[in-house]
């Protein structure tokens, strides 16, 4: 390494200096807005409102989190998000796998036709309104199934899983089991599934992240605060507080500096609470995510 550095031309040395500066700038640009939110959430609410908090907490305080835990909407939202994420991931992974596995088998007749049936939906769809009308017609609106089932299968993920089955599990294994008299379901449960653990992990993570982050489907198909997931509640808190602040400004009445500071800091702490589960699993997840992306980029 040191030998290489010795041989390095001036041009390359300049390149490395600029490259390092660029990479560090990238780090700063990504981290600063996040740090700002964390600092605001842990600062005294009045300092946040008066613009005293920029990069580090000012007047360290966990007051804003007590607002979060007193807020019933946030707590039910959290509960709903957890339920939707767990149940939805289960449904999605099952339907994805039972589509991907048969489509990966050479023995399946009309494989091209079936695959085409799936692929076509990636290119063209009925659009928002016709889909909404179908979900309504099936009486799924205002139930949690309305947000879990209509988008449960991602064809993209199905193709990733199919590619995994086709390329990572040798067909000889299936054949050997079939010679021993195993039926299709035995082969699937005893051979394919145990070997598919990596792809099950990838799919679960893809779906879980999507479900935890779901916003629009919930707004579209749900209609009550008992059912809304955390993302919708967070959005409500963001805009409600905005209008509240605007009203105070317009009327010139100081509603009460404390309420204002409270709503403002509640926003920061709720953002943080909504991020925590994702950021907590992130270090473990990112490896699998990259892996899934790479399987996806293989031509299957």
């Amino acid at each position: 390494m040191s030998k290489n550095t010795m041989q390095m031309s001036t041009e390359d040395r300049i390149f490395h200096v600029f490259n390092d500066i660029f990479l560090i700038l990238c780090l700063i640009v990504v981290i600063v807005p996040m740090m700002n939110v964390v600092s605001c959430a842990f600062s005294d609410p009045s300092n946040v409102l008066n613009g005293r908090v920029s990069f580090l907490p000012v007047g360290l305080s966990v007051k804003s989190f007590t607002y979060v835990f007193k807020n019933k909407l946030i707590l039910t939202g959290y509960r709903n998000s957890v339920i939707y994420t767990l149940l939805g991931t289960l449904i999605s992974v099952i339907i994805t796998i039972i589509a991907a596995y048969p489509l990966s088998r050479r023995e399946l007749k009309f494989k091209g036709l079936f695959t085409g049936l799936f692929m076509f939906t990636m290119l063209f769809g009925g659009g928002l309104i016709p889909t909404y009308l179908v979900v309504k017609r099936l009486n799924l609106v205002n139930t949690m199934w309305g947000v879990l089932i209509p988008n449960s299968l991602s064809v993209y993920n199905m193709i990733i899983a199919r590619t995994f089955f086709a390329s990572q599990i040798p067909a000889d294994l299936y054949e050997a089991a079939e010679i021993d008299g195993a039926g299709d379901y035995t082969v699937f449960f005893r051979i394919a599934l145990p070997l598919a653990k990596p792809i099950l992990a990838v799919l679960s993570l893809f779906y879980a992240v999507g479900l935890w982050n779901m916003y629009f489907d919930a707004v579209l198909y749900l209609n009550s605060y008992d059912q809304y997931p955390l993302q919708v509640i967070l959005k409500e808190i963001m805009t409600n507080a905005t209008t509240q602040a605007a009203m105070v400004k317009a009327t010139g009445q100081i509603a009460s500096a404390e309420t204002l500071a409270m709503t403002e800091s509640l926003k920061y702490s709720t953002i943080l609470c909504a991020c925590v589960p994702m950021l907590a699993i992130y270090p473990f997840v990112q490896k699998y995510f990259a892996k899934g992306l790479l399987i996806g980029s293989l031509k299957g």
């Binding site: 990238c26 589509a99 629009f216 967070l234 980029s297």
Partner: protein
């Protein structure tokens, strides 16, 4: 003999009924939630009345399309959509490539890994959280941007309600969130490049910039083309959720795009047929774009999606 009869059995397909029964549920799903809506899209050509059902409603042909094309909203919606979509696509393509090249040529492996890990993180944030971050960053009272402006004695800006700021906000926040994620795929193919190539180039006296130009770029060219084709649909399919969340009464003149208009007309005003027509127009244009770019790419570079 035994082998023969087994092959015969396979030929009949009677062996693998299980594979077909396994597919029943996914196919039912596809029919219900993907193909039934495609069948239902015909309400774009009818005056749909829910009680009468789809086929019972009067056929009106292209009435809704004509209404949309001749409405005063049309040119604004189309140009807002295309401007937003094409600028974010054009800046969205090079950013991940530049980041991946910078990480890949970094001297320090640790710095590279850290940058990769940190820049990838925003991808996992939901659109609501991203938009909340943006709103708090730009907040008039206590927002980071205005705090910094205050240090320099500048007045506070309310960018969220400024129509001219909408596009930069949308595009920059998209870069902030998506660049690290986009770089992953390039980094994977860069890491597959044989070290011998760099070695040989160094012996020939190539600088790092020349190595990037003649080794790195050609090795990621297939991915670049593939991702560009896939992104072309996004010229017209802008990030609906993010636009909706960033939208407010004051920035409508730049933030109103086709998909948010469909939502407003269809769900909020229950004009099902009219909004289905607009949605169908959108889907057809996006499909045409994809097919066109795919064809162009297969002719020009012999790389294509299908």
């Amino acid at each position: 003999m035994r082998a023969k009869s087994r092959n015969k059995g396979k030929g009949k397909g009677s062996h693998h009924i299980g594979l077909y029964t396994m597919l029943i549920l996914p196919i039912v799903y596809l029919i219900l939630f993907k193909y039934w809506p495609i069948y239902g899209v015909q309400i774009a050509f009818r005056d749909y009345i829910p009680i009468k059902g789809i086929t019972g409603s009067t056929w009106v042909g292209l009435k809704h399309f004509r209404n949309f094309f001749s409405s005063y909203q049309f040119s604004r919606l189309l140009s807002n959509t295309l401007i937003l979509g094409s600028i974010s696509m054009l800046v969205g393509i090079p950013c991940p490539i530049i980041l991946a090249l910078a990480i890949n040529s970094s001297r320090s492996k640790r710095l590279g890994k850290t940058v990769q890990m940190v820049t990838y993180a925003p991808y996992f944030m939901s659109t609501v959280i991203l938009v909340s971050l943006v709103m708090q960053f730009l907040a008039v009272r206590g927002g980071l941007l205005n705090n910094i402006r205050a240090w320099f004695g500048l007045d506070a800006l309310n960018l969220m309600s400024d129509p001219n700021a909408f596009r930069p906000i949308y595009i920059l926040s998209g870069i902030w969130q998506g660049t690290g994620y986009g770089a992953v795929i390039y980094l994977a193919s860069l890491s597959a490049v044989s070290p011998d190539l760099y070695e040989a180039a160094r012996i020939d006296g190539a600088t790092i910039l020349q190595q990037i130009r003649y080794i790195d770029l050609p090795s990621i060219l297939p991915e670049m083309i593939m991702l560009t084709i896939m992104n072309c649909g996004s010229i017209i399919n802008v990030g609906f959720e993010k636009v909706l969340l960033l939208q407010n009464q004051l920035n409508m003149s730049t933030s109103d795009v086709i998909s948010t208009y469909v939502y407003r007309m269809g769900i909020q005003s229950a004009q099902y047929s009219y909004s289905s027509a607009i949605g169908l127009f959108n889907s057809v244009v996006s499909l045409a774009l994809l097919l066109f770019v795919n064809w162009l790419s297969s002719v020009a570079t012999e790389t294509s999606l299908f």
